[in-house]
């Protein structure tokens, strides 16, 4: 038997049938949210089709939900209709939903691992590009469009072409104040936002395996920002310990059987990767983006780059456009850029460990004058855990707002938005033009770096504060 990568193993276990390079792939878990599903359910109704296996789907509203005064409901009637449409569709088609008032509600990619809905070795899809998150559990997880949401609902399968294998190894030990977000931003800075196109990336190496499960989710979450179909990490005892005892995890004899299989979910030593990259963990410093694409990133000791020094004309034009949009001058030290808003949350960095890392920096300090900072837990259970640990008190005493869970200002589909030209340190995943509000200016950072910017009023090397 030839050596296989982790991706090969999971792919092979899910092939229903293969015709040439067109494969019908079986999907174990289908996560559903309110934004990309209504037209799919409508499609089923129009074609008089029923879901093939409704019990394999789990839904939660997250993009449109308010993060304040939740009990009052959604003020915007268009947003409200979209969430009510999800409620109605799940009720009609028999799909488990964690509704807006459920304590387990949260960002779909925080809720699903937390509930044990996603497990190692599964194929997982969702009408959401950040589905890549779940690869942290040793699953094959990727985002799909609404037509494919309908396809999975109707058939529990997808028509797929296999991607190529890429391995990115980060060996060594991350320095203090450097975390999973810095690792993945540094990787994107190295390979670019199209660097992973056509690939599934397996993240490996001692620095990756030393990350907590939350940290691994942060890394895999942003695999899509490198253009990859999915990001994955091998299963180890940390993965299995994380899943054990969660509400939807297997129990008893089935648990033993599952865990034994999960321990085989790693790339074989001689497995072939089409592309490999090695990075030394020690070379990674706290990262800050300066432009309008996640690949436009440098570290906190760096400066805003000069487009004149770029030789590729397309890249040069992109840099000029980005700097004009961001209101930045070439050569400005990153640490001299002031911020007005701080957003801590999202499917990238809204988990308990992220809030702890931010709280360490916030503790005993005050949000700087002129800065408005908010913390949005990734789920109701993350919020409850943080409150049990007293993190809410730390944030509130430091002058941060403590909100209810949801996608919030990561994509600003609810009321949480930047005003034009407002500059924000954000722990989310995209700094695209208009992402957090028309003409808003987003800099992507880790939770610790976001908290450091909040308490100093400008980007600051968090290593000086811890």
């Amino acid at each position: 038997m030839s050596a296989k990568t982790l991706y090969d193993k999971i792919w092979d276990a899910h092939v229903v049938r293969a015709d040439g390079d067109v494969t019908l792939l079986y999907i174990d878990r289908h996560l559903v949210h309110e934004v990309t599903s209504p037209q799919a359910f409508e499609g089923l109704r129009i074609a008089h089709r029923a879901p093939h296996r409704p019990a394999a789907a789990f839904a939660v509203p997250d993009h449109n939900v308010p993060t304040t005064q939740r009990a009052a409901g959604i003020a915007d009637p268009v947003s409200r209709l979209q969430v009510e449409t999800l409620d109605d569709n799940c009720a009609q088609f028999g799909i488990t939903e964690f509704r807006m008032d459920d304590p387990r509600q949260g960002v779909v990619h925080v809720m699903a691992p937390e509930q044990g809905i996603v497990q190692p070795g599964m194929t997982v899809v969702c009408g959401d590009s950040h589905t890549a998150t779940h690869g942290a559990l040793g699953s094959l997880a990727f985002g799909i469009g609404t037509s494919e949401v309908e396809h999975v609902l109707a058939t529990q399968c997808l028509i797929q072409k296999k991607s190529r294998n890429m391995s990115i190894t980060v060996d060594g030990t991350l320095g203090p104040g450097v975390g999973a977000k810095d690792v993945v931003l540094a990787i994107i800075g190295r390979i670019g936002t199209a660097g992973g196109t056509g690939y599934v990336i397996e993240f490996a190496g001692s620095a990756i395996m030393d990350l907590s499960m939350e940290g691994r989710m942060t890394v895999c979450n942003m695999a899509i920002e490198a253009g990859a179909r999915a990001g994955m990490i091998a299963v180890d005892s940390k993965t299995i310990d994380y899943v054990e005892g969660r509400p939807f995890a297997p129990k008893g004899e089935l648990w033993d059987q599952a865990a034994a299989y999960w321990r085989t979910l790693h790339s074989d030593p001689d497995a072939h990767f089409d592309e490999t990259l090695h990075i030394a963990a020690e070379s990674i410093l706290p990262q800050v983006t300066w432009g309008t694409s996640p690949e436009m990133v440098t570290d906190i000791t760096g400066r805003v780059p000069d487009p004149d020094a770029e030789t590729d004309p397309v890249r040069q034009a992109s840099m000029r456009t980005a700097l004009a949009y961001m209101g930045l001058k070439p050569g400005t030290p990153m640490r001299e850029i002031p911020v007005e808003r701080v957003f801590i949350g999202s499917c990238t960095n809204g988990r308990i460990e992220d809030l702890r890392a931010a709280a360490v920096v916030a503790q005993g300090r005050r949000v700087a004058r002129g800065v408005s900072a908010m913390v949005v837990p990734g789920s109701g259970l993350v919020k409850a855990q943080a409150e049990a640990e007293g993190l809410d008190r730390i944030f509130l005493e430091a002058g941060f707002e403590w909100r209810d869970p949801g996608c919030s200002m990561c994509l600003a589909m609810n009321a949480d938005q930047l005003a034009p030209r407002e500059r924000c340190a954000a722990t989310s995943n995209r700094n695209f033009e208009g992402r957090q509000g028309k003409d808003g200016r987003t800099h992507l950072v880790s939770p610790a770096m976001a908290a450091a910017a909040a308490v100093t009023g400008h980007f600051t090397d968090v290593r000086e504060l811890i």
């Binding site: 079986y26 590009s129 469009g145 396809h151 529990q156 196109t197 253009g227 648990w255 890249r315 995209r430």
Partner: protein
């Protein structure tokens, strides 16, 4: 799905790399529960000078005269010429819905983001990836002759310029076939229901924990 075989139409040049789906259709329009009506909001933040809102009347909105699609030469453009990594970011199928609703059936670029590329084929849009120098050459031609047309022929996998230059392109045979016939791929998959059920029966024995639900 609307089939696609041939198209001869005006090509509009959008000379930017990494055009993301937030730029193609901003988030506020994703609140719609319909598949149509997105065309007037395509590239909303680049196309208009004010802030767009769902269901607004666009007839009185101030246009950005600098934006390529607002120039008279491109009013009837149905082919979009772009740079690399078009459609990156969010998985929103609203992006191809907006492009289609505007009238675009073909997108030419140096490369496409994976999910967006896939979504195009589900909606009767043909995304064509061409080598960098070919795209650069097309940009030069279009900039010299705004309003230029191209002829795209899917069965022969060729693009023909007004000068008669023929540019071949690649497309996966399965996707090509579905596009030419306008096939509903859910229908195709449901024809393989017996295979799906056989897989499920086999899998239920191998990995029974995957079928414990609730």
């Amino acid at each position: 799905m609307q089939p696609f075989t041939q198209l001869e139409a005006v090509v509009a040049p959008l000379d930017r790399a990494n055009v993301d789906t937030d730029a193609i259709i901003p988030k506020q329009f994703l609140k719609s529960i319909r598949r149509t009506g997105f065309g007037v909001f395509l590239f909303d933040e680049w196309r208009y000078l004010d802030q767009g809102q769902p269901d607004m009347d666009v007839s009185g909105r101030p246009l950005n005269p600098e934006f390529v699609l607002n120039r008279p030469a491109y009013k009837n453009a149905r082919i979009l010429l772009t740079q690399d990594n078009f459609g990156c970011g969010s998985s929103r199928e609203h992006a191809p819905w907006a492009l289609l609703d505007f009238g675009f059936r073909v997108i030419l670029g140096k490369g496409f983001a994976d999910i967006f590329y896939n979504n195009c084929f589900k909606n009767g849009i043909l995304p064509i990836a061409l080598p960098g120098p070919v795209i650069d050459g097309l940009f030069q031609q279009v900039n010299r002759a705004p309003g230029m047309t191209l002829k795209v022929d899917l069965p022969t996998q060729t693009i023909t310029t007004p000068q008669g230059e023929v540019i071949p392109f690649d497309v996966e045979p399965f996707r090509k076939d579905c596009l030419i016939k306008g096939l509903d791929d859910i229908g195709l998959t449901l024809e393989k229901l017996a295979d799906i059920q056989a897989y499920e029966a086999r899998r239920r024995k191998q990995a029974p924990w995957l079928f414990v639900e609730g």
